[in-house]
Symmetry: none
Subunit: 175 residues, 4 copies
């Protein structure tokens, strides 16, 4: 093992919790690294030791939050519609954070990569998994269209509600 004092896992969790709370309270833009440090009872340096910036930190904070959410993990393959409903529910709740992260990622190459790896790709994979009985080319097509509709909806700040889900499913069944 590496020499020196080991990383304090409690501190890491405190930081993520603080980041999450503050972002939910004030919104992403109104939270600073210093705020998070203070709330977590940590030093700013400790934040920067483990995360390159606010974006990556908040991304981690909400990755955990999302993965804690009860996802449908039955033995049977989930249907597209139930998956889409679940996905929209999550995206709707976390909409302000998702918007902010995607926005910040436009100015930060590294965050952009992380965001795609931790959020965009996994959601795409979930959808893809519901389409195993489609032709591979069609599969990509549908995944692209659905993901495009959802992200556009987020960035334009329009609701990801049941009406939208019906709309999206109507599109898919036409393809």
């Amino acid at each position: 093992m590496r020499a020196g004092r080991p990383r304090d896992e409690g501190v890491r969790r405190a930081i993520l919790v603080a980041a999450q709370e503050l972002v939910l309270e004030r919104g992403y833009a109104a939270v600073t690294m210093g705020d998070v440090a203070k709330r977590a009872g940590a030093g700013k340096q400790t934040l920067y030791r483990w995360w390159p910036g606010k974006g990556a930190l908040v991304l981690d904070a909400f990755s955990e939050w999302v993965s804690q959410a009860p996802r449908l993990r039955g033995p049977r393959r989930p249907s597209l519609s139930s998956t889409l409903v679940e996905l929209c529910r999550g995206a709707s709740e976390a909409a302000p954070v998702l918007r902010a992260l995607m926005a910040e990622a436009q100015f930060d190459e590294d965050l952009h990569r992380r965001l795609i790896a931790q959020l965009v790709r996994p959601r795409g994979d979930e959808l893809r998994a519901c389409l195993v009985d489609r032709r591979p080319a069609d599969r990509e097509l549908v995944v692209n269209v659905l993901s495009g509709l959802v992200w556009q909806r987020l960035m334009l700040n329009e609701p990801l509600d049941a009406r939208f889900v019906r709309f999206a499913l109507r599109v898919v069944e036409r393809i």
Copy 2:
């Protein structure tokens, strides 16, 4: 006429030109209001008198730029494919600015409204105009899908090239 010294049109144009040049040279994030003022030979206050911030200013600068671009204005209704090609060409050239503006708009309600009114809606309308022979419900569906695909492509920093256009058209003809 209104009392007082009238707004100097030359200054307005100089500011927009300066903003455009600087954004193209250095990229949106690396340009400050002070830079634009200096390049335009204007005072910062003059910028803030007419625009609420960098986002709105750059949006105006590129709105004019876009509207100067030779758009297809034939007497006949343009085809969907040619419109999409043209739209992707424009979006591809201005991609860095579009990404930045959409990103900034996530943090700025006012800019969000302006962006939709000056960029998002007009492009949607162009597409819609090519679809007059579709059923109204289908029309909205197609416009949404295409616009979603394009914006997603922009935010994920993937190329809006000929291959993408073919892909998008394939989607549309299935609907």
Copy 3:
């Protein structure tokens, strides 16, 4: 007479009144040329046409105010003590303005000259007039000492009250 529209005397008075009121309401430092113009219903240019800056304007505004004050103008030569009392009363009332003007004059050569000509010298002359029966050398000495004591008192923001007058008179009778 010179061609062109003649100076509007009403405007001049309105500006002086506005300056005076504003300075009394908010204090010298918190008043701007723009404020005075607005209150007077005048344009800023009109202010700058007739005064070089805030200092000179306020000086004029309070010169008139001071000269309106009922000064002892009897047929007989006024006594030193009554003159000093009167002078301290005036200085005490206008203390904030006097402090500000003298302060501003330290940064403005022109205002410095005006201040001496319109305020410092006249007050010295009033004192001098009470000392005609002293030897000329003594006279200057006393005037200098008294004026020094008063200005020091102003700049140090100490009260110019009856106690001070007694103190000053005690000094003088020793000389």
Copy 4:
């Protein structure tokens, strides 16, 4: 010891030196906090962390300068005349700064207190120390008169030369 990085004494000195140099080169009014920061290789925030504004900073810069000057510190009590000569020499050299500080203090209550505590009172005490063989009441009287004469001379921008010293001493011996 207190936690956190301790104040960097070198930075503090660099700032004071920079302030002093710039004020001597350009004059108080032509120096900005930003100038001082740049010259000192410091951030503006660091200046504002330790001083509330330009006035307090320059006051500190010249307080140190004055205290470095070789003051008469003989075993014997210094004479009034030699003290006054020395005081006028210092005041004469630093006249522009003293005028500016006293002026600024008229607009800034906090600076006013600092100025009196760091400059006005100490000089008065030096004079008072030369007058221990006078009656207490006379002592205050003389100190007030001398200090009044000096400050008036400064504010009216008249020379504090040998002639003035003789004049002042003549006044005192009459009292």
